[in-house]
Each structure stands twice: as C-alpha cells, then as structure tokens.
Symmetry: none
Subunit: 413 residues, 2 copies
C-alpha cells in the first residue's frame, strides 16, 4: 500500500460575495477532487488549532505528522534547506530579499523589480566574499535562490533565533534594525552580527557593477538585503525512522521543499514546476506518478492557489483549482487505485477577501480500499465538514494515513 | 442515576470486501444496539489518538477516564492483577505462556497445545518452588490462570520494566533472550534475573512428571515459559475517589479485569464467562443487571469479537455481534431505563482484513433520560460518525458519563 498526499497551498477559503457567497472550491468545476470525496472519507482539519491562521511551513510540518507547537523553529532554516543551502544544528538561517531602498533606507521595492536570477547570482557571489570582523567569531553562507529570494546562514557559537526581522514587510517603510527579542547575550550578539553584516552588504551592493548596469537599463537597483524568519533546523524524527517508509516530495517552492527534506523525504526536481500559476501541472502529476513507483508516500504540492488568494483574485483561484483538478485526474488515471490511498487537502485557508491566511479549517478527503466511505460527494470546505472523519488536527492526518498503510505502532498491548 | 458501559472488544472494523464493503457491525442484525443509538446521542471515539491502534489494556484505561499516554505502564501487571495475583508498587509483572520448544529453543507451539488448567496448575506449583540465587536478591510469584496463560511477578529492589520480551510472538522462531532496553543498572539486573529464572524453570519443566505424562498421551510438552509485557501497577486514582462512585466489572479476560481492578471496581465472577465466542452472554447480562442494583457504574465487557477479527472470520464476528446484541437486549429489558444511562462502544477497531488492531475511531452511543438525542438510528462506525457527540477521545467518555450521573466536578466557579 502507498499513499499520495495532494496539497493545494491556501486552496481553502471563506465564502465570497463576488461568488454568490460560494468559496472558490465550491464555485470551481472539479470532478476529480469530487471523485476522491465521493469514493472516500471526508472531514475538516485544523492545521494548527481552531482559529489559528497557519504559515505554510508550520502547516506542512503538521500535515507530515509533527506537532507544530513543539517542533516549529522558524522559517529561515526550512527555506534555506529547501533551496539547497546546508544548515547545521546551531546555525541561524534567514529568508532574505534583494530589495531597493532610497538613501534614507526607505524600502521602494521589496523585490528589486523581481530581479533576474543572473543579476542576483552575481551580487550574491560578491556578498559571499564579505569578511566579517574576526572578533565577531562567525561565518556565513549567502545564496540567491529564485529571483529576489535568497538564504542567509549564520554559523558560530552562541547564536539565537530570538531576534526581529529587518524586513518591514511593506514598501514605503524604513528598513528595520534587527533587535534582540529577549535579554540573553546570544540574542544581542546575533542581532549585532546581522546588523553589521547588512551594513557591509549594503556597501558592496551600492558600488556593484550589476547595479550600475541595472540603473542604466532603468531597472531598480538591488541595493539592500532584507532578512526575516530567523530559524534553526527543527529537531524532528524523519518519517523513514518513525514509520519505516520512503517518501518523496514534488514541490517547487523552497519552503515546502525544506520541510519535506527535514522530514527525510527525497526532493524531486520537475522541469516547469515554478510555484506560480503558470507551473506545469501535468509535469508535476507525472513526477508524482513516477515517484509512487518507488516510494510509500508522495507529497504533491501546488503553490498557486495561495498566491491568487493573496492577490485577491477569486477568478484566478478558481482557474488554478480547476488546473489542480486536472493534475489530480492525471495522477488518478495513472496509478493503481486498489493499492494507493489518495489524500487531498489544503495546508491552510487563505481568504481571498482579506488576502491573508485565516484560521478556518481546511477540507480533507481520503480515498482508498479500506476507508469508511461516507456520504460526502463534493470536495469543499462545507461539504467535507459533514464527513466521517469529523474534525481532526493537522498532525493527526499522517498517523491516519500511516495506519491505513499498516505502518502505525500499537499503543498498549 | 446509574450507568452501564457495554464494550465489545475489537467490535469496530473497516469495510470488508466480502461483506459488500460493509463492516461487520453494518452487516449484523442488531436491533438492541440500534435502539441505544436511536434513543441516544452518538459519536465516534479515538481510544488513544487518531490513527493510533490501541492495545485493549491502554484503550480500557482510556474508556475508564484515564489518559493512557500518562498512566499506561505495561500489560504484565494489569493481567497479573486481573488473574488474582497481587502486584505491589515496585514489582515487575509479566504475562507468561506455557509453550513447547525443541532442544534448540525454537518455539513449536506458543500455547503448549492450549494445555489444560489441571496440568498447568501442577507445573506452576513446581515452578513456584524454584529457589533463585540468594545473591540475586529477589522473590517471585508464578501463577497459572486459564489454559496456557500465566502471570509472573518479580519483587525486589531496583527493578525496571525497560526490558524486552522472551516471547518471539510466532512459532518457528527461537526463544529470545530478555535484553535491557536502556543503559541503567536496573534494566540490566531485571533482564538477568528473568533470563536466569527462565533457565531454572526450563530445568524443572523438562523433567516434570506432568510433561512425561503429556508426551505419553501424545500432547505437546509444556517445556518452556515465555514472558512478555513487563509492567508495573499504574499510578492512578480510583474511580471511587475521583467521582465518588461504586463500580463493578463483568469481564472474563484477565487483562480487562486487571484494568478495572486498578480503577477500583469490584470484579464479578460469572460462571460460563470464558472470553471466547462460546461465552455465556446471558449469564453476563444477568450479572450486569444484578450488579446495577448496588453499583453506580457497571462495566460489561465481551472479548469474542476481537478474537474473531484476529482470526479473519467476518461471519463469526457478525454472529458474535448479534449475540452481544441479545445480551444487551437482556440488560435493557431488566433495568430501569429512566434511571440508567446505557453506553455502548468498542475499545478499538480490529480489522478483519489485516487481522490487526487499527487506528480508526470506534462508534459510541449513550442513551438515557437527559442525553441530547440525535438523528442517528444505527449503531455502526459510519452512522455514529454523524452523531451529536462528534469525535471525542477515549478518556473523555467517562467524564461525559459521570457528568450525566451528576458526579462531575465543576472547573472554575
């Protein structure tokens, strides 16, 4: 027995006025998602806990069976790991942006015009050559990933993740000083290290030929690095150890790839998988089908629905859900349904109305040979709430799936 | 107000192909169970937590209101206590089997041909006379219970339950050395004590007249004792103290009797109650009715459905469910339903397909004067999932019942 877990990032929603008070899932034509609901057992999931809006990192940790309240240790390390940067226990890692600021350090563009990979790579190469003061006693790794995105890893003794972000999160505000979030010497030291490094980075970026060239071409200069989400590697037991399974991850975005990697899953690279709504859905489906031949669990993640919700674009969200549905159809049509449990869910609700993550539960459906099929015939937030699983926690799902796969451990005798 | 809690061991199941994808509960004719569902409030219970297959001991502790993750301390002590062997705090107790091994200690029959009680009693009497080395500084109790089953209690300073089983669990494998499961001196000492004692036992059994006689009669010799489930008495508050109630237990199998005894319930012996599918269901019903006259809570347990599931016998399971139904009918017909809450559930799901305990939830129905009766009209896994209790944890049930009985404590003021 095997299982494929299909996760639509931010796919769940609240009812929208513009959709006649339907949610995008309710408004979409999605015969394949409905087929899983119809042939399976359904329910709703609180990724973290009722009313708590989850980040995708914490929610994905939960869907993989970890208690997010116990293991979550910040976004930075997960995203760095997901983009191929090594993060060791004790390191503090950050998600960074190349950004454009004016001379008063007010952010003009948090993404430096979504700078091209080539430019970012040249800048990153120069930044990696920066020499911190010897007395500071740390090393760092800086790597650009996709467009304006980058990872920074600080390595050395006595570091802490209890520091604030320098990224003000919106344009028009001044870059923030990184502050220690508690009175310990580690937090103070780490904040000082990051602030000093950002100043050194700024000098290098200001005089950099790439930026001079960009100015000539009328492009925003990438003259600042913004840091956020200080994190360490979470201390978790890999799924292979916990359940004796082999897992693989088909996901484009670094954060999700990082979570799957720390959970011990193999990361599969798919040409054309971009994390945007133009991603190659069919290529992801085929990669998942292929991975199911040699893995017990395949995690198939699509980012786009979340992006559409953050942009307040309900029509685009419906379109993406319909593409996810076709992707699912391609998976269902190419696997042995007698030996595969198919699980579909979302990592969290993103409200297209508020353009933010929301704490509402997400729908889930599990089809496969021995599930207690219920009467639910539609995969949506409200239809699944009447399902046989009732309401469970995010961290329960993986144990339920592993139990169906015969991989659970008895408690008691 | 009083309550009777009727528990069908392993009665819940997954849908089975051979039953047209019904579960045995769904396929059985069970008007009395359905009547409790119809007149009551229904739901599903995760005995331990979603997706975790429970052992009957841990699940029964949960159904009696205890948090199994906090109080469960191994099977051995519970089973020993349930078979009338005294286990004191600090003792380490084991569930044992009389078994048949060849000269290389390969297990030929884990139950020594389900040896008769008379033979086992004579062997046990001789084993109790074994003198451990003085320097080992421990005493032991060994008592046969039913057929091949026996209890062993080790008493002395510095003992540990963190040791492995000698029982390989299947015939055809060699008897295992008991190993310490952590580096502490207590675990090493306890493992050594048990290994030495098993060798001494083996010598006594090998030369025993009972075994010579058995060989003559063509019966497998009971020439080895297998140990498993090292456990101590769980540290729990009795139900009488927690809720101020008097409780009684009608159960045949030692393990369940042990759990009820440590919870402070009186054990009722019922002639003809065997723990097999030929148990005297009506005698158990009558004993429960009688016990309800002088107790606030009666726990009525039937083992047989679990056994049928472990044997993969769906038809027998249905037959047993129908007998449990008649037993319940006898209870319902002989109690005052205006002053008695009737609770029916299972301690766990046993999958007749996999022949193992499964982590799926179990159905529950509670009838009685003041419950919030719902629309559920059938006692089954799927029907009850739509009930008014929704999905609760095993340890919640007893508090719900005690609250109906007016025995709960207010939290806050």
């Amino acid at each position: 027995m095997r299982a494929v877990l299909v996760v639509g990032d931010g796919m769940a929603d609240r009812p929208l006025r513009e959709l006649g008070w339907k949610t995008p899932l309710e408004a979409a034509r999605k015969p394949e998602l409905d087929r899983v609901a119809k042939t399976g057992v359904c329910g709703i999931i609180d990724p973290i806990s009722p009313g708590t809006p989850p980040g995708s990192d914490a929610a994905t940790l939960a869907l993989l069976g970890y208690d997010p309240l116990k293991v979550y240790s910040g976004r930075g390390a997960l995203e760095a790991i997901g983009s191929g940067v090594e993060v060791l226990p004790g390191d503090v890692a950050f998600r960074c942006n190349f950004a454009t600021v004016n001379k008063n350090l007010v952010v003009l563009d948090r993404r430096a015009g979504r700078i091209a990979n080539e430019d970012a790579a040249k800048l990153a190469e120069s930044l990696q050559k920066v020499k911190p003061k010897k007395s500071s006693n740390f090393e760092f790794l800086f790597k650009n990933t996709i467009q304006h995105r980058a990872a920074l890893v600080i390595r050395g003794p006595k570091l802490s993740t209890a520091i604030s972000d320098s990224d003000p999160e919106v344009a028009g505000k001044r870059v923030l000083d990184v502050e220690p979030l508690y009175e310990g010497p580690e937090a103070k030291r780490t904040a000082r290290i990051v602030n000093e490094l950002m100043q050194q980075f700024r000098k290098v970026l200001n005089g950099h030929p790439v930026n001079k060239e960009r100015a000539k071409r009328g492009l925003p200069r990438a003259n600042m690095i913004l840091c956020r989400g200080a994190g360490t590697v979470p201390k978790i037991v890999r799924l292979s150890e916990e359940f004796g399974i082999k897992g693989a991850c088909v996901a484009a975005v670094s954060l999700i790839r990082g979570v799957c990697k720390v959970a011990g899953m193999r990361l599969i690279d798919v040409r054309g998988a971009t994390g945007t709504h133009q991603t190659d859905y069919m290529a992801k489906a085929k990669a998942a089908v292929q991975a199911l031949k040699t893995n017990d669990l395949v995690f198939l993640h699509v980012k786009a629905a979340d992006v559409a919700s953050h942009d307040g674009n309900a029509r685009l969200k419906i379109d993406i859900i319909e593409k996810i549905d076709k992707m699912l159809g391609c998976v269902l049509g190419n696997i042995d349904l007698d030996s595969t449990y198919v699980v579909v869910t979302a990592d969290h609700t993103t409200s297209t109305a508020t353009r933010n993550h929301a704490g509402d539960p997400v729908p889930v459906a599990i089809s496969g040979p021995y599930v207690r099929r219920d009467e639910v015939a539609e995969f949506s937030e409200r239809a699944c709430a009447a399902g046989g699983l009732n309401r469970i926690r995010g961290m329960d799902l993986m144990r339920i799936v592993m139990d169906l796969l015969g991989r659970s451990k008895k408690f008691g005798s």
